[in-house]
Point group: C2
Chain length 290, copies 2
């Protein structure tokens, strides 16, 4: 496994591979790899000649009051995991190379970036879109793999790739969970034992919504109200948002129909966690996928 | 010469060429081709296996009160010129394909886009940066050729390419002029006979600035003042701006030194024209290039 730190040397390495017609599958990460990341890497391994992983804690997507400094960076462990998964190369750029002096170009995906997580994290998705475009230009993969856990990010990157004609296929892979339901996240590392228990309230609220919809509930305000009541029982949980939106334009829907996304962000102590559930409701079958 | 209208068919065509190791030189245009465009095409022809030209009047870079509707579109003549210059393919996208329903991704080059022409054309350079990024993703050239006539655009595209790691080389070619000094522009077609005479005031003001600097003038406010007085003598000329700025960051300079750009925009009747002169002043030689 190669560890490549500069875009220039990566460019040379890739040129040779591309000339030999090798396909490249790419998993961009901020490190602190967990089984969710590994599932993306394994999917990339299955479908491509070359698997590329980037590890870069991107300053541009953190707000001034956020956890950029404390974000976990267990690099030796991350590299060992990549090696084990037969990753071909890890791109490990230096912040000063990614944001050179006078850096001033930003990509905004308007309409999708200001809602949900964007409300309490202004500028976050601009930072995400910009770094992903940069990484795609550097790594030039055939396929990029993203997790459904970051549902809004996935919608935004798909839209950016379409709008800017970026020649890459975007694959969104399912959220991985602990047996108790907790969605895997690098930020779970911030939680103490008690908070890990409290954090189950996110997936429980989603499970409640699912049951309500299966039982015939259609009014999203009422479903959200039930979720809110469930979460409010935990003293240590502070709701940032709960929303039921269209999966493509992320606009709130009043009645459950078509493709919908139930998304929420909740602070457990000082740790902000997110989770979501994507469903499809058809009046024919009245079925809701698990 | 191929005329390709969809990004998808261009993608297939390019894949074959790239597999054979062909280099691609790209000249993006809004059509209404003049000798300035042809000089870019000839340079591309000299330096690459394949020459690509795009013709697309980009709605995103026109303001609501601007000349999008009336912008000249002499397509058969443009295609004949491309054929004569041995262009390999012309990309001629449809607006509805370039800006599909729900289009919402924009690229901003901050700090460089709000000054000079950006002041009176808000959103213009956002539209330019976005379409150029799209075209670069579609055409995937090795080199893109731009004219120095649009000096601010050239600086912005260079910065975008650097900041977003777009794998392309940017070459800026000199402004072409009529014998009387008028910079070639597709918008010159709007001028009547009298206005064509009045329009010479732009290049004359630049020539005056050059002479003043050669004679020892260093104070940019005084140089701009002299240019302003010269232009004000023409009743039909309305100054939008005259500025002397750093060639990299486009910030105003007080004293002539290093690399500087003298840029101006003047309305002649209803037609807004721009011109510029890029100079280098070194205290050693005290020389100013012609």
């Amino acid at each position: 496994m190669k560890v490549i730190k500069s875009a220039a040397s990566l460019f040379k390495y890739l040129k040779k591979l591309k000339a030999r017609g090798k396909s490249v599958g790419f998993v961009p990460t901020m490190g602190a790899l967990h089984a969710g990341h590994l599932s993306l890497i394994r999917q990339a391994r299955k479908e491509n000649n070359i698997v590329a992983v980037s590890i870069f804690v991107n300053p541009a997507q953190f707000g001034p009051q956020e956890d950029f400094k404390n974000y976990p960076r267990p690099l030796p462990k991350d590299l060992a995991l990549c090696r084990k998964e037969k990753v071909d190369f890890v791109f490990l750029p230096r912040p000063e190379d990614m944001y050179a002096e006078g850096f001033s170009t930003y990509i905004s995906v308007e309409g999708l970036s200001e809602t949900l997580c964007g409300k309490s994290r202004p500028g976050h998705f601009r930072g995400v879109a910009t770094i992903v475009a940069k990484l795609l230009n550097i790594v030039q993969p055939d396929v990029i793999y993203l997790g459904q856990k970051d549902a809004q990010q996935a919608v935004i990157i798909k839209r950016m790739v379409r709008d800017l004609n970026i020649p890459v296929k975007v694959k969104i892979m399912p959220t991985l969970r602990e047996i108790n339901g907790l969605a895997l996240s690098s930020r779970n590392a911030y939680l103490d034992k008690k908070e890990r228990q409290d954090a189950l309230v996110l997936s429980k609220a989603l499970a409640l919504a699912k049951i309500l919809i299966q039982s015939g509930a259609r009014d999203t305000a009422r479903i959200i109200g039930s979720m809110r009541r469930l979460i409010s029982k935990k003293k240590n949980a502070k709701i940032d948002y709960i929303a039921i939106v269209d999966t493509e334009n992320l606009k709130p829907v009043k009645k459950i129909s078509g493709n919908y996304l139930i998304a929420l962000a909740v602070k457990i102590g000082k740790t902000r966690l997110i989770d979501n559930f994507q469903g499809r409701f058809s009046t024919q079958s009245e079925s809701v996928p698990a």
